[in-house]
């Protein structure tokens, strides 16, 4: 057997070993478990589990996604109401989100929390219930960081109010 053959054999074995490893790992599917992330706000890493317990709306967006931009004012209004914490996670670099219209930049001002997702957002999105990666994607988490409502696609103020209200009810019950 030549060195090349041995290498090919090793590579093939490694390939099949990898496939077999697939079967050894169980898929996780625990929709009601507490969610967490550790993302950059441009100055520090923000860990959701280290923030004060509070009902939280999390919105994934991009500046080149029209429905993401359309729903941003509703999210900003909710944040300003003080009822819940609103965190936006841009799946773009900070320099790229600067391309958003000035009205959106204004909407992203505090009290909105503005974070940026990783370059490879697959794991983050899947963890937050969006395995296919469609945007916009919005979740409402209760104060235990468990999802009580989520929507992939454009949201409305009504949906947001309803989801937050239901989430609060779920908390009290």
């Amino acid at each position: 057997m030549t060195l090349f053959d041995k290498t090919s054999l090793r590579s093939s074995l490694a390939l099949w070993a990898g496939l077999l490893a697939c079967a050894a790992v169980n898929a996780e599917n625990q929709p009601n478990s507490a969610l967490d992330f550790e993302l950059s706000d441009g100055h520090r890493f923000v860990q959701l589990s280290r923030l004060p317990a509070q009902t939280t709306v999390i919105n994934f967006w991009r500046a080149d996604c029209p429905p993401c931009l359309r729903e941003m004012p509703a999210l900003a209004a909710l944040a300003r109401s003080g009822k819940v914490r609103v965190i936006t996670i841009a799946l773009q670099k900070p320099a790229e989100t600067l391309g958003a219209p000035s009205a959106i930049q204004a909407a992203l001002a505090p009290p909105m929390h503005v974070l940026h997702g990783p370059g490879e957002p697959r794991g983050l999105l899947a963890r937050f219930g969006n395995r296919v990666g469609a945007l916009p994607h919005t979740l409402v988490l209760d104060d235990q960081r468990r999802p009580c409502a989520q929507r992939t696609g454009e949201i409305t103020s009504d949906w947001l109010d309803h989801a937050v209200t239901n989430c609060s009810k779920a908390k009290t019950t």
Binding site: E120, P121, A149
Partner: protein, 702 residues
């Protein structure tokens, strides 16, 4: 507590079907989701079931790339290979397989050929792009079975607002690059226009007055259109024009003067590593005698003018629970070239037509469609003595095809399976069936496996398949009746969490009937130079693996470390005709804080077995002083860096240095070589052909 809504994989895929770009391949762009509960969504994960690397417009900017070949270079499993030191044919190499096995698509439409990719890859506009998707492996593209090594899909961006982008860059060696992009968005659509001017002087690194880096002047222009709803159709398209002039060998841009200068010795053959003992010629290795050079500037120069027009468009319409798509592509490519006194003028036309539909059948998503591809080539030319050899590589290929693909997810999306088969009826190479099978296994949210097995086929053409085989020959003898067939198996394991991501992949590629051009043959009767066009008798096997790890060190600093290792099994000279390394390593740092962004990357290229790839056993190579060329190339680093500062919302300034430590092959070994009889060639290439390159400029965005 109930989850209010969950997007199932099937619903999601159906949603993505309205992307308008390559429905059959699920290549994703801006989409409008109308699957009951959602409206208006944009997917950010690319064709998950097939391992795809996506480079966004921002990433292209950060590398300082001004053309496609630069943008794709220096990435694990992906590189750019120069195959001629004086004309700088550049190929995009995937999995270290020959560049002609990489298929380029524009918005999912294959409209490039071996003719148009020879010099055309440099002329693909980067203006107005949303991203570039790179998929490695045969059969990664359902609509481009000839992608034996993989495909590169350029996805244009649908503007959502009025835009004006200007990028003006200056650099060493007379480099000048101007990019203009404008967009007008309106209710229900958008129009775009882009223009690029790019020029660069010839570069001679060893002072022998023969360039290693080809000079060029290139103008690109294009317009694009996007209509969201025209009778229910979502339409996009673009029309592009390319006008490029390049010359290498002789320095400067006096094209007609160089062509007319056909005698004497304007060069200094004594310069550079292992230069000749005298300026007027070189040592003939077999005899030890000298050989004077007398062919003037023309005898060592290659001048290529390219004129290209292309149009691509696609339309998507809802059909039942699924969708249908129509796509059309057209390209007219003209090459007017001068190769060391030989003249070659090629005129090529390509058409591409596609009709397909994607429908749910129960829980299975089925895609089916038909394609028709037309590609011809008509050439006229003369060999170096002026003898006409018109039409020596003419061909007309017509390939109708049908395809069927089924996608199904199991275990609530934990396992996704995709199987497809194509049947093509090639007018020369007959019926060819090319199947592929993909599995995506989501072990958990962060970790998944992708397994792919597929076959591709490619109808060889004689243009530039290997070296400059069509040149300086009286006719081509075609002893080839089989298409090139590639079988590929690959496995990728990837992990992605918030700060850490890694992906490792293994690839096995086996290519049968690899096309071979032997331009050194002679007619047994007349003694004239002829070219033999044959197939390799034994398959070529390339096995490799790569690992890429990305970690966010601080909120502003990200590092990427990657390595690749490949093994090559081939026994016939000319199959893997250009040297390639077994190992490469990559290190990169990306910084972004407020208005400042920076990129630093180092690429280490391991030694290459020059003796094996360049077939020293049968055709040893020599320097001009008669000494042997190196058996193995040295390993080397190339370090690039770039910084950008945003002055305000409209203006930015940038500065970059490519090849900071000024490594160039000509410092170690010339790209020129002679054989035992003293015949010269320009293809001894293993290193960089340009030293340190400094550039800077400004950007304006409105």
């Amino acid at each position: 507590m109930k989850i209010k809504f969950h997007l199932t994989p099937l619903v999601a895929v159906l949603s993505l079907a309205f992307s308008g770009a390559a429905i059959a391949d699920k290549q994703l762009g801006e989409v409008t989701v109308s699957s009951g509960k959602t409206t208006g969504a944009k997917p950010v994960l690319r064709d998950e079931i097939i391992a795809t690397e996506s480079l966004g417009a921002r990433e292209l900017e950060k590398t300082g790339a001004t053309m496609l070949t630069e943008a794709l270079d220096k990435r694990p499993g992906i590189s750019m290979q120069v195959e001629c030191s004086i004309c700088n044919v550049r190929n995009v190499v995937l999995n270290n397989l020959p560049g002609r096995y990489t298929t380029l698509l524009i918005d999912g439409i294959p409209i490039f050929s071996s003719v148009s990719t020879a010099y055309g890859l440099d002329s693909v506009s980067l203006g107005g792009l949303e991203r570039i998707d790179i998929s490695r492996g045969a059969g990664t593209s359902l609509i481009a079975p000839e992608a034996l090594a993989g495909s590169v899909n350029i996805v244009t961006r649908r503007p959502t607002k009025d835009e004006l982008l200007i990028n003006q860059q200056f650099g060493s060696y007379g480099h000048l690059n101007t990019d203009l992009f404008g967009a007008k968005a309106f209710t229900g659509g958008a129009l775009t226009a882009n223009f690029n001017h790019n020029q660069h002087d010839t570069v001679d690194g060893d002072d022998n007055r023969i360039s290693e880096y080809t000079g060029y002047k290139r103008n690109l222009g294009g317009v694009g259109f996007f209509v969201d709803d025209l009778g229910g159709f979502k339409i996009r398209g673009r029309f592009d024009i390319v006008d490029e002039k390049r010359m290498g060998g002789a320095m400067g841009t006096d094209y007609s003067g160089v062509k007319a200068n056909g005698s004497g010795n304007p060069f200094d053959w004594s310069k550079g590593q292992n230069g000749s003992p005298y300026a007027g010629g070189w040592i003939v290795p077999d005899t030890g005698l000298t050989q004077d050079y007398t062919d003037g500037l023309a005898g060592m120069s290659e001048i290529i003018f390219t004129d290209r027009k292309q149009f691509v468009s696609s339309a998507t319409h809802k059909l039942g629970e699924g969708s249908m798509r129509f796509a059309v592509g057209y390209a007219k490519h003209k090459q007017d070239s001068f190769y060391e006194k030989a003249v070659y003028k090629a005129d090529q036309t390509q058409y591409y037509l596609e009709a397909s539909t994607q429908q749910p059948l129960g829980e299975t998503l089925v895609t089916t469609g038909v394609t028709y591809r037309y590609e011809d080539l008509a050439s006229v030319g003369t060999d170096a003595s002026g003898t006409p050899n018109n039409g020596i590589d003419n061909y007309k290929y017509r390939t109708p095809g049908v395809f069927l693909q089924g996608y199904h997810s199991f275990l609530e999306g934990v396992v996704e399976v995709n199987g497809s088969v194509r049947y093509d009826k090639h007018n020369v190479f007959g019926a060819i069936t090319s199947p592929r099978f993909n599995v995506l296994w989501n072990h958990n949210h962060e970790l998944n496996s992708r397994f792919a097995v597929g076959r591709g086929f490619r109808a060889p053409t004689s243009f530039f398949e290997q070296d400059h085989g069509i040149l300086d020959t009286t006719r081509i003898v075609r002893n080839i009746d089989k298409a090139e067939i590639s079988d590929n198996v690959s496995y990728a394991l990837s992990y992605a969490e918030d700060r850490l991501a890694w992906v490792g992949s293994l690839n096995y590629n086996r290519i049968k009937n690899m096309a071979l051009l032997d331009s050194g043959a002679t007619d047994p009767v007349t003694g004239d130079a002829i070219t033999l066009f044959t197939s390799a008798r034994k398959p070529v096997i390339v096995v490799g693996g790569d690992l890429t790890v990305t970690y966010k060190l601080t909120p502003n600093l990200e590092t990427t470390i990657a390595a690749e290792h490949f093994k090559y099994r081939f026994s016939e000279a000319g199959t893997l005709a250009f040297a390639r390394p077994e190992t490469r390593a990559y290190l990169r740092l990306d910084y972004e804080s407020g208005p400042l962004t920076g990129m630093l990357r180092g690429t280490w290229t391991g030694p290459m077995d020059l003796a094996k790839f360049y077939d020293y056993a049968n055709n040893p190579r020599y320097n001009f002083d008669g000494t042997r060329k190196m058996d193995k190339s040295p390993d080397y680093w190339v370090v690039d860096l770039r910084g950008e500062y945003r002055l305000n919302k409209q203006w930015s300034a940038f500065l970059g240095v490519d090849n900071v430590f000024d490594f160039k092959q000509s410092d170690k070994e010339s790209m020129l070589w002679v054989d035992g009889s003293g015949a010269i060639d320009v293809t001894h290439i293993w290193g960089t052909n340009r030293g340190r390159f400094i550039y800077g400029g400004v950007k304006f965005a409105l």
